[in-house]
């Protein structure tokens, strides 16, 4: 089921005017920032279908900017997020993309700074609820209902075991797990939804495990 909590329906508390185009957009921006792990210096944002047609009226642009700055949906600075981003040296370009998308409210965010880059596709499915459907070219389905760890790693034997061993050591239960790779022996992505929040110290330990490239966490 897409929605699993009453607070997906009665909520979120947010700054108007649209739950999918404003609150949802802010959440997609925030997810990208969280996965990037720091504040980006630039962002290229492709908007599709309803997002592309109505983003100005709905404030989708400032909401995405707010999310990239780390704002929650009810942050009263939301409507000034574009100006705030500019002040902080975050350059954002919006592209109205006419390509077909699977969902009417789809955004593709490519964000980066001098050294790193991240590409993410998010969809806003209604009432402020979002799903991340793609990360750095890997398809994924993250509900956001549970904390999740995303692990970029090299496709080698033992990589998965080294991660699950550490989680087992700290008695962290895995609710759902997916592994995707681009090609045999190349870069791969592990997506692990867990039942409890994972401490930063455990993430550090995971980062040092064999064949791990990069780790990001999405808190519940």
């Amino acid at each position: 089921m897409k929605y699993n909590s009453v607070f997906d329906i009665i909520g979120p508390v947010m700054i108007g005017p649209s739950s999918s185009h404003t609150a949802g957009a802010a959440r997609i921006g925030k997810a990208a920032r969280n996965l990037f792990g720091k504040e980006p210096q630039w962002a290229r944002i492709h908007l599709y279908e309803s997002f592309a047609k109505t983003y100005k009226g709905h404030g989708t642009d400032f909401a995405l900017a707010g999310g990239l700055l780390g704002f929650e949906t009810d942050d009263t600075r939301m409507s000034q997020a574009l100006e705030l981003a500019e002040k902080k040296g975050l350059e954002i370009e919006f592209i109205e993309d006419s390509a077909k998308a699977d969902h009417p409210n789809t955004a593709r965010l490519i964000i980066g700074d001098g050294s790193d880059q991240l590409e993410l596709v998010g969809i806003s499915i209604g009432g402020g609820k979002v799903e991340i459907t793609e990360l750095n070219g890997f398809e994924l389905r993250l509900s956001g209902n549970h904390p999740a760890i995303l692990i970029m790693h090299n496709d080698r034997f033992g990589a998965i075991a080294s991660v699950t061993e550490i989680l087992a050591k700290y008695e962290i239960n895995i609710g759902h797990m997916e592994v995707n790779r681009k090609d045999v022996g190349k870069e791969a992505l592990m997506v692990i939804e867990v039942d409890q929040n994972v401490k930063d110290s455990i993430l550090k330990e995971l980062e040092n495990a064999s064949h791990i490239i990069q780790i990001a966490k999405i808190a519940n």
Binding site: F7, S18, S19, G126
Partner: protein
């Protein structure tokens, strides 16, 4: 976990509990939280709703000037004259529109289930409250009952205008409010389901055609329709009127109708009222002044 309205009603009837109680117990289980924690979280949402209505009744205006101030006009009218549709109904309409006026003015609201339809549930709650005199707990339960039916709708159809048109937003919101009113007024779980079905049936086919793509025209006034219909349907169900088409089948119909709706009528600001001479003119004016 309930998936359908029929399951929801059955669970309530089997344990002889209210719809709100089924939702509360499920939430406790899913989130692994105590009753107190969940009530406290919902109380916060209720407070946001109350604040938004207070703000609206002092008078607000959106950046474009397209909406705002109608909630106050209605309250003034109620003081000076006797509304033909009755004070309670017009009070709900005023408070529902007011919530959406605050939303359009980029104020703080609680999405129920969305921002564009955020007026129906609180608008009706803060109107029927004056007649039913509920406790604060009953007011919080009102939101759980509305949420339970919204949960079924969101998982079996959709709740966003971009996905399913306004029937999915104000249709769902008004129907959720109907079910909650019934419980607060002492009706049965099945009567809640009937009230939900009656409201949604009368909202089927409603398109999402916002002028200039803004959540203002006609969204604010559609919340007037959703909230007033919610009260009428609740009264019908409490009187014993049943929905001939069961609640889940109405939700199914809403889903199929939404799937058949062209993109131009699903929150793209391209068809319907957005594509009238005045709608187009307003869009030109607004984006000419670079909002």
């Amino acid at each position: 976990m309930f998936r359908t309205a029929a399951e929801l009603v059955e669970m309530a009837e089997k344990d002889n509990i209210a719809i709100s109680e089924v939702m509360i117990r499920q939430e406790m289980e899913v989130k692994d939280k105590t009753r107190e924690e969940i009530f406290a979280e919902m109380e916060k949402n209720l407070q946001v709703m109350e604040n938004a209505i207070e703000e609206a009744l002092e008078g607000v205006e959106s950046v474009t000037g397209l909406t705002g101030g109608d909630a106050v006009l209605i309250q003034n009218y109620m003081r000076e004259k006797t509304p033909l549709s009755g004070n309670l109904l017009m009070d709900a309409v005023s408070k529902a529109m007011g919530t959406n006026e605050v939303n359009a003015a980029m104020g703080t609201i609680c999405a129920t289930p969305t921002a564009g339809s955020a007026g129906c549930v609180p608008g009706t709650l803060f109107a029927v409250k004056n007649q039913l005199n509920p406790t604060r707990e009953q007011m919080i339960r009102y939101l759980f009952t509305a949420g339970a039916f919204g949960f079924v709708t969101a998982n079996n159809a959709f709740i966003s205008g971009a996905a399913g048109g306004c029937q999915a937003e104000v249709g769902s919101a008004g129907a959720m409010a109907s079910a909650a009113i019934v419980e607060m007024a002492g009706g049965t779980p099945q009567q809640s389901a009937d009230a939900f079905a009656i409201t949604l049936k009368n909202m089927l086919g409603l398109v999402c055609d916002p002028v200039a793509g803004l959540v203002e025209v006609p969204c604010v006034k559609r919340n007037a329709a959703g909230s007033s219909l919610a009260i009428v349907s609740a009264d019908m169900a409490l009187a014993g009127v049943k929905s001939r088409i069961p609640c889940d089948e109405v939700i199914g119909a809403m889903y199929r109708i939404g799937k058949q709706m062209p993109t131009s009528l699903r929150e793209t600001g391209e068809g319907g009222l957005a594509d009238t001479p005045t709608g187009r003119l307003l869009k030109e004016k607004i984006f000419g002044m670079s909002v």
